[in-house]
C-alpha cells in the first residue's frame, strides 16, 4: 500500500471539495433561477468534462498552465514554480473536471425548491443572503451532500487528467489511481490490488451512505 499516495489523494479530494462546493452553491443556485437565453450553453460548457476524453481536458489544461499562457506565467510569478506538475496544478485541474459532479446535483436541488417558498421568504422580509442561508440551503442540502460525495469519490478515482497535468511525482502529484497504475506496470499486484480494493470500498461506502441519506431526506420532504 502506498500510504503517501493515499494521503495525497485524500488531501486533493478535500481541497477540491473546499474550493468547489461554495462555487457550486453559487453557480447551481444561479443556474436554477436564471432566465438567461445562454443557459443551455453555460450548462453545456460546465458539463463538458463528462463527455470529453480526460486526455483532451488534460491537454488543454496543460496548455493553459504552461509558461506560454498568462495563467501559467501569473502563477509562476506569484508562487515561484510552474502550475503544471505541481499539487496546485492538480487542484486546479481537479476543480475544473469536477464542476459537473458538484454543480448539477446542487442545481437540481435548488430547482426543486418551489418558487412560492422563495417568494414567501421575500414576503417575510428576508434579504437574499438570509433567504439562501435560512431557507434555501437547508432545503437544498440533500443535493449539496450528493455533490460533495460525488466530487470526493470522483477526485479519489480520477486518473487521466491527473496523469496529463500532474504527471507521476510521488508525494507531489502521484495519487492513488496513478499509484495503482504504476504498481500494476511494475507487476506489484499485491499493492495494486490492496489499493484498488481500498478505493472500491471507500467509493461504495460513500455512495451508499449518501444515497441512503438523500433518500431519507427526500422521503421526509415528500411527506411534508
Amino acid at each position: 500500500m502506498d500510504a503517501t499516495a493515499i494521503a495525497l489523494s485524500a488531501r486533493l479530494a478535500g481541497v477540491t471539495l473546499l474550493v468547489l462546493l461554495p462555487l457550486a452553491v453559487l453557480l447551481g443556485r444561479w443556474l436554477a433561477v436564471t432566465r438567461t437565453r445562454f443557459k443551455p450553453w453555460i450548462e453545456g460548457l460546465l458539463a463538458l468534462p463528462l463527455v470529453l476524453p480526460p486526455t483532451v481536458v488534460g491537454y488543454y489544461l496543460l496548455v493553459a498552465m504552461g509558461n506560454q499562457s498568462a495563467l501559467g506565467r501569473l502563477f509562476e510569478a506569484l508562487v515561484g514554480h510552474a502550475l503544471a506538475f505541481s499539487f496546485g496544478g492538480l487542484v486546479f485541474a481537479s476543480v475544473l473536471v469536477n464542476i459537473p459532479f458538484a454543480v448539477q446535483p446542487v442545481q437540481r436541488a435548488f430547482e426543486s425548491i418551489a418558487p412560492d417558498l422563495r417568494e414567501a421568504a421575500q414576503c417575510c422580509g428576508l434579504t437574499r443572503w438570509q433567504a439562501l442561508w435560512r431557507i434555501e440551503l437547508p432545503l437544498a442540502w440533500p443535493g449539496l451532500l450528493s455533490a460533495a460525495v460525488l466530487t470526493f469519490a470522483h477526485t479519489l478515482g480520477e486518473f487521466g487528467v491527473v496523469l496529463m497535468v500532474g504527471g507521476n511525482i510521488p508525494g507531489e502529484t502521484q495519487t492513488v489511481a496513478i499509484s495503482i497504475y504504476d504498481r500494476t506496470q511494475s507487476f506489484d499486484h499485491a499493492s495494486a490490488g490492496a489499493m484498488a480494493a481500498l478505493l472500491l470500498v471507500i467509493s461504495l461506502v460513500t455512495m451508499a451512505v449518501s444515497y441512503g441519506l438523500v433518500e431519507r431526506l427526500m422521503r421526509r420532504r415528500r411527506s411534508a
Binding site: 412560492d116 417558498l117 417568494e119 421575500q122 414576503c123 417575510c124 422580509g125 437547508p138 432545503l139 411534508a224
Partner: protein, 363 residues
C-alpha cells in the same frame, strides 16, 4: 383611498387601475386566468410589471422612479398552497418573518400571533404534521406577524374543505375587526367574495370591469360582462321609450315595464338589462291581475329545482319563448304558492330591481 394601483403588462396581460379602500377587505373577483393573482403579485413586488404605479397612502412602492423590493414593502402574503417552510416548525415559520426583532421578542411575538390565529399549542409541529386548516392559520399568522399594512390573500381557502372554510371565514372577519389593515383577497368564488369583502373589484382579461362596495357591485352589475361574472342568468334585451306623460317604459316582448328608477340620462332605444333571480317576486295567486302590482308579468313554470332550503325556478314569461327567467325562492314559498311545472304564475319586476347594462367593459 389607500392602496392605489395602475398596472400595465403584456405577459400576463394587465391594464388595471383601481383604488382600494384603507382598512377594508377588497376582493378581486374573476375567473381563472383573469390576472387576479398577477395583480396581487405586482402589489407584492413579486411580478416585475412593464408599467406599474403602486402607492400606499402616498408612499410609492412602484412608479415615480421607485421600485421597492418585496422585503421593503409592508405586506403579508398567504398564497394558495400556503408556502410554509417545510423544514421549520409552525413557530419557526412565524419567527422567520420576525428576523428584524431580537430573539426573545421574536419568540414572544410569534407565540402571540399563533394564538391570535387559533393555532396556539401547535407551535412545534412541522407543516406536514398540520391539517389544511391549521396550515392556513399558520400561514396567516406568519403573514400578520410583521403587522403589515397590506395583507394579500391569494385564494387562501381553496385547499380546505367546506366546513373548515366557513370557520376560517369567521376567523378572518374577526381577525380583521382587530387588525383593521387593508386586505386584498383574490378569489374566483362569488360566495366567498360576497361573505368576506367590503369592497369588490371585478376583473376580466387583466382589466377592471367594475369596482365598488360589495353589495352595490353584487346587486347592480354595470355591464353584460360583469353580470356574467356575477353569474346572473337573467340578462335580456328590451327597448326603452317614453310615453306621452314622459314616463319611461321598457318594452320586453309584449310586456311594458315601468322603469321610473332608471337613470334619466339613459338614451331611448335598445337596452340590455338584468334582474337578479332573488329580486324577481312571485305574486299571490288570488291577487287580481295587473291591479296594484308593479310590472306584473305572467309566466309559465318550466322547471323547479330544490337546493336545500332554496328552490331555483325557471319560468317562461308570456310571449317570450326564448327568454327564460330564473327566480330563487325559499322552498316554503314554493309550497305556499303551489309552484310546480306548467303552473301559471304572476311575477313582479320592481322598477328599482331592473339593472341597465352597458355592452362595453368600461368601469
Amino acid at each position: 383611498m389607500s392602496l392605489s394601483l395602475d398596472l400595465r403588462h403584456d405577459g400576463p396581460p394587465l391594464d388595471f387601475r383601481a383604488d382600494l379602500p384603507r382598512g377594508r377587505i377588497t376582493a378581486l373577483l374573476g375567473p381563472s386566468g383573469s390576472g387576479k393573482t398577477s395583480i396581487l403579485r405586482a402589489i407584492a413586488g413579486l411580478l416585475p410589471v412593464r408599467e406599474a404605479r403602486v402607492t400606499l397612502e402616498g408612499e410609492h412602492w412602484d412608479g415615480a422612479g421607485v421600485r421597492l423590493p418585496t422585503r421593503a414593502r409592508s405586506i403579508g402574503l398567504v398564497s394558495q398552497h400556503y408556502a410554509l417552510f417545510p423544514h421549520l416548525s409552525a413557530l419557526g415559520n412565524v419567527e422567520m418573518s420576525l428576523t428584524h426583532l431580537p430573539a426573545a421578542e421574536r419568540r414572544a411575538r410569534a407565540l402571540e400571533v399563533l394564538a391570535l390565529a387559533h393555532v396556539g399549542g401547535l407551535e412545534h409541529r412541522r407543516p406536514h404534521e398540520l391539517s389544511g386548516g391549521q396550515k392556513q392559520r399558520v400561514a396567516l399568522a406568519r403573514a400578520i406577524a410583521r403587522a403589515p399594512r397590506v395583507l394579500l390573500l391569494d385564494e387562501p381557502f381553496s385547499a380546505v374543505d367546506r366546513s373548515t372554510r366557513k370557520r376560517l371565514y369567521l376567523e378572518l372577519r374577526r381577525l380583521h375587526e382587530q387588525l383593521r389593515n387593508t386586505v386584498v383577497l383574490v378569489t374566483h368564488d362569488l360566495d366567498e367574495a360576497a361573505q368576506l369583502a367590503d369592497h369588490l373589484c371585478l376583473v376580466r382579461h387583466g382589466r377592471l370591469l367594475q369596482a365598488g362596495p360589495a353589495s352595490d357591485v353584487l346587486n347592480r352589475p354595470r355591464s353584460v360582462s360583469a353580470a356574467r361574472l356575477l353569474d346572473i342568468p337573467n340578462v335580456f334585451e328590451g327597448r326603452l321609450t317614453r310615453d306621452a306623460g314622459d314616463e319611461r317604459l321598457l318594452h320586453w316582448g309584449p310586456h311594458r315595464l315601468r322603469v321610473a328608477a332608471l337613470d334619466p340620462a339613459l338614451p331611448d332605444g335598445l337596452l340590455r338589462w338584468a334582474v337578479l333571480p332573488s329580486n324577481v317576486l312571485l305574486a299571490h295567486a288570488d291577487r287580481a291581475w295587473n291591479s296594484d302590482l308593479e310590472n306584473a308579468v305572467q309566466a309559465r313554470v318550466l322547471e323547479v329545482v330544490e337546493l336545500g332550503g332554496e328552490a331555483v325556478v325557471r319560468v317562461q314569461p308570456a310571449g317570450l319563448a326564448d327568454a327564460p327567467l330564473q327566480l330563487r325562492l325559499p322552498t316554503r314559498a314554493i309550497r305556499r304558492h303551489a309552484v310546480s311545472r306548467d303552473a301559471d304564475v304572476t311575477l313582479c319586476l320592481r322598477s328599482a330591481d331592473i339593472v341597465p347594462l352597458c355592452d362595453d367593459a368600461a368601469p
